[in-house]
Amino acid sequence: MKICYYPGCTLKNQAKRLDDCARLSAEALGVTMEEIPEWQCCGGVYPMAKDEIATKLSSVRALDYAKHHGGTLLTLCSACHNVIKRVNNDMATEKSIRDKVNNYMRLDERYEGETKVIHYLEMLKDIVGFDNIKKAVKNPVNKKIGAYYGCLLLRPSNVMAFDNPENPTILEDFISAIGGTPVKYPFRNECCGAYVSLTNKSLTEQKSKKILESAAAVGAELVLTACPLCYYNLKKNGGDNVVYFTELLAKALGVTE
């Protein structure tokens, strides 16, 4: 099966490994990720103000392309997923934003939030199925692994509808599927300090260290993330054991070293 895929800028550069491992693994599981043509950067953060229109157009262009090519848009970077899903919600539910965007874009057919946005983890869970992943595993991971969710996949939950925002389980289920032992720790859905690391390093340092200490306290040998910014902040602050979830998936499936 083929799905339209939006990689985003970071997965073409600093987080290439997150992307490479995802594509190889999906292929092994029977899903082809078709990168959409001429995609543009999502902006990294969802613009909350009511009059932010231009900053949403790149997401809408990707969504509209997917609407006419299968109806589903697959994301992998947590930030792209958060931005595109929230913009899509605006297009479906906020008339003033929908009208302004459509007036500007002049598409042949208005875009009104029809595309379904799914994250790679949702693809694994709902399209491939964790049971089938379990069957496809060649090298079980055999480690204690702490899932780090962060913010972007989960919140705001009324729009993201990803998992229970206070007690999520999808990453733990993923860890079990690839043969690891999930360990839960209190700070797994806390913020790492995000983009504030550019201007206020000490705040990010405190936040990231707390998360790593919390994971270490329950014996996590590895910490999993889906976000290049979390990855960076955690690594910078002592998280030598932080890995992208797709790196482990690819290893477990035997498609990478």
Binding site: C9, T10, C41, A49, K50, A79, A194, L198, T199
Partner: protein
Amino acid sequence: MENFDIEYIKEISRTDVRKCMKCGKCSGRCPAFNDMDIKPHQFVTLLGQGKFDVLLKSKAIFSCLSCMACVERCPRGVAPANVIEAVRDTVERMQNGNAIKAEDIPPIVDDLIPQQLLVSAYRKYRK
């Protein structure tokens, strides 16, 4: 030219601060609480009271992580993060309000910095 006043902030914030019951759950959950001169629940109250100048002087608008934890926890459907962003947008849209300049970036870039970080910070701190 836009008219920057309290109504402007209310309008772009897309949240109804009158629904706040001042329970403080948003501030209790905020990971940046210790770094904030004005706390999330106070942003909501000050906007309701029309304290334009006080809001504009806040340093906390540059500590908010946009983690949406306050929005998630609010039992009244108020979005304190939206208020903080609306204040920051207003400060930045007014002249000379930008918090980062292009020249600031090269010295702080290291080998591992993800593009996502630069794009996000630019979106948040410059208009």
